[in-house]
């Protein structure tokens, strides 16, 4: 794998079920370069979230390998997988999944604290990240005091806090109105250009997908299209 490739997926297959077997991913081969801003699209049940969970080291494949920044994550220990999730990956989900008992700054600090960063340094970084997503006035607000769009922006700041190589978004605007969704995409694009991090966004919204540089289309667990926009 060349240094410019951050992810190399080879013959990736995921089969679910004990009795009735469902092939969620069928022999996927995919290479993703550093700094790419790309979307994975496809109808419901096409396997796009499954692929994202595999890249996010949240799930393990039935067959195949995923090399993430030179490490075969399908063979890595549980401890190594946790460490890589913390340092190499940032997650943004449809529901923001912010910790409700912590304010915006504390939520953004969390991946840094998990990484063993000192609280004072983590706080300074969290404030900087919240400033970048336009929430410097909301650092002490708890999730229930913020709007849906604001919460999603806190989730973005949290995903970027540890300066991960890859940011994964799973239907991250699925819960937002179109205007807010547009703003979130613009923000992600801006951050992608500034930080040169790889953004992999799963969406069923074709209009949003068109805003990315590359679209991977999945149907029945297979890549049917890989186009550069």
């Amino acid at each position: 794998m060349s240094d410019k490739n951050i992810i190399q997926i080879t013959n990736l297959t995921k089969i679910y079920g004990d009795g009735v077997l469902i092939k969620a991913l069928d022999n996927i081969n995919l290479t993703i370069e550093r700094g790419e801003f790309m979307a994975i699209v496809g109808p419901s049940g096409s396997g796009k979230s499954t692929l994202l969970n595999m890249i996010g080291i949240l799930d393990t494949p039935t067959h195949g390998t995923i090399i993430l920044d030179g490490v075969d994550i399908t063979q890595a220990s549980e401890k190594k997988r946790s460490k890589m999730r913390n340092q190499k990956l940032g997650f943004i989900f449809q529901y923001h999944h912010l910790l409700p008992d912590f304010n915006a700054a504390e939520n953004v600090m969390m991946p840094l604290l998990i990484n063993g960063i000192k609280p004072a340094n983590a706080r300074a970084k969290a404030h900087k990240m919240l400033e970048e997503v336009g929430l410097s006035e909301r650092i002490s607000h708890r999730p229930r005091q913020l709007s849906g769009g604001e919460n999603q922006r806190v989730a973005i700041a949290r995903a970027l806090a540890n300066s991960p190589d890859i940011v994964i978004g799973d239907e991250l605007t699925g819960n937002l109105d179109s205007k807010t969704s547009e703003k979130i995409y613009e923000l992600l694009r801006k951050l992608n250009k500034e930080h040169n991090q790889t953004f992999i966004l799963v969406t069923h919204d074709e209009r949003m997908a068109e805003k990315t540089e590359r679209i991977i289309r999945l149907v029945d667990g297979k890549i049917t299209e890989d186009k550069t926009t």
């Binding site: 549980e78 946790s82 890589m84 529901y95 998990i114």
Partner: protein
């Protein structure tokens, strides 16, 4: 350590429910501290009363013999032994004791009052009269308080003692004793030589009582006397083995009772933690996605059990201490017949009781936290995140 931050926030956010769990733990610890303090006080009091009301070692006649003949020589041997404080030979027999129409059975003991007092501290129990009075000339007797009540007699009254084969004799009452035990119903003391004469057994005794400086050496000394003289020597532990066994049995039952109380408080901890885990499935999933190890998730929930436990234990210890102080201030009367002669509930406040109750409670609370904590740490992150 981010784990403690999360644990504290979970508890703080659910302060109403967690307060109830803390109260349950605090009450269980307080109840057990008061109970242990009562039992320790009761046990120590029983042992003290038992030791005080009997000779530390009692020497009885050899096997197949009814009396000790050469008791002066035996006394001399015993006095030479290390740790022996006092020796008192006595003759004890049964007798009927009569005053007007009232007749009662008595354990009629002949003693040298000075020696007997050194062995049994008899004078402390004297409620009327003088103990040494029985060594004066003439027939003088000291009775147990309940025996005197039943005979309806007091100081200076005369009672008649009789025994088959002996000449009935009149004795003047010169003292009343109250030991607080059942002995008060039968006790009758007179001078040793007079009692020997009454039974026609001059120069012999039925036993020798010994007091030692350290009660826990009594067993060893009794064995030596037994071995070297051939007389049957028994320590207070052997003589009171039934009471000691009863106290030990009681302790075992009480431990089961304590475990049940602790289990109830443990369930309240398990209950609140299970509730938090169920509420926080999505959050746990996100923590796992952010790279939190499964071990850290386990630690978060065990910390919650520990924080709730330690808060409850601290409050419980304070509550238990205050309750013990209050119980010590207000004497609670109990019927002496049911409590081995004790007329009030004794309480002993000892630091080790707080330590035992607190430590056991903490162990059970942590055990109670293991199941929900393990459940949280084993969640599948994908399922957990999408459960919301």
């Amino acid at each position: 350590m981010f784990e403690i931050n999360i644990a504290l926030r979970h508890i703080k956010a659910r302060h109403r429910q967690t307060t109830f769990s803390v109260i349950a733990v605090a009450l269980s610890v307080a109840i057990i501290i008061v109970s242990i303090s009562m039992l320790t006080g009761f046990r120590e009091n029983i042992i003290e009363t038992t030791v005080e009301n009997q000779a530390h070692i009692t020497v009885s006649p050899k096997e197949n013999e009814d009396y000790i003949s050469l008791y002066h020589g035996l006394e001399g041997f015993i006095r030479k032994q290390e740790g022996v404080v006092a020796v008192s030979s006595y003759y004890q027999g049964d007798a009927a004791i009569q005053h007007r129409h009232n007749v009662e059975g008595a354990a009629f003991s002949g003693v040298r009052p000075m020696d007997e007092d050194l062995v049994l501290n008899v004078k402390e129990d004297l409620v009327a009269g003088e103990f040494e009075s029985i060594s004066m000339a003439g027939n003088r007797i000291i009775l147990g308080s309940k025996l005197a009540e039943k005979l309806d007699v007091g100081i200076d009254d005369t009672v008649t003692l009789s025994f088959p084969g002996s000449e009935p004799a009149d004795f003047k009452i010169t003292g009343i004793l109250r030991t607080g035990t059942s002995a008060d119903e039968t006790l009758a003391y007179a001078n040793l030589e007079r009692v020997q004469d009454f039974y026609g057994k001059s120069g012999i005794v039925t036993g020798v009582g010994i007091r030692v400086s350290d009660i826990y050496t009594a067993e060893r000394l009794a064995k030596r006397i037994d071995r070297e003289t051939g007389y049957d020597a028994e320590s207070w532990m052997e003589q009171s083995s039934e009471i000691l066994n009863l106290l030990n049995t009681q302790r075992q039952f009480v431990v089961i009772f304590y475990l049940m109380i602790f289990a109830i408080s443990g369930f309240s901890i398990a209950n609140i933690l299970t509730m938090i885990v169920m509420e926080k499935v999505g959050e746990i999933g996100m923590l796992l996605a952010m790279g939190t190890s499964r071990k850290s998730i386990l630690v978060i929930f065990l910390l919650e059990a520990g924080i709730l436990g330690i808060t409850g234990v601290t409050i419980g210890c304070v509550l238990g201490y205050v309750s013990c102080i209050l119980l010590v201030s207000y004497t609670i009367p109990v019927p002496p017949e049911m409590y081995f002669g004790l007329d009030h509930l004794p309480i002993r406040i000892a630091p080790e009781n707080f330590l035992i109750a607190g430590a056991f409670s903490m162990i059970i609370n942590i055990i109670a936290g293991i199941h929900p904590a393990r459940r949280a740490s084993k969640l599948d992150p994908v399922e957990a995140i999408h459960s919301v």
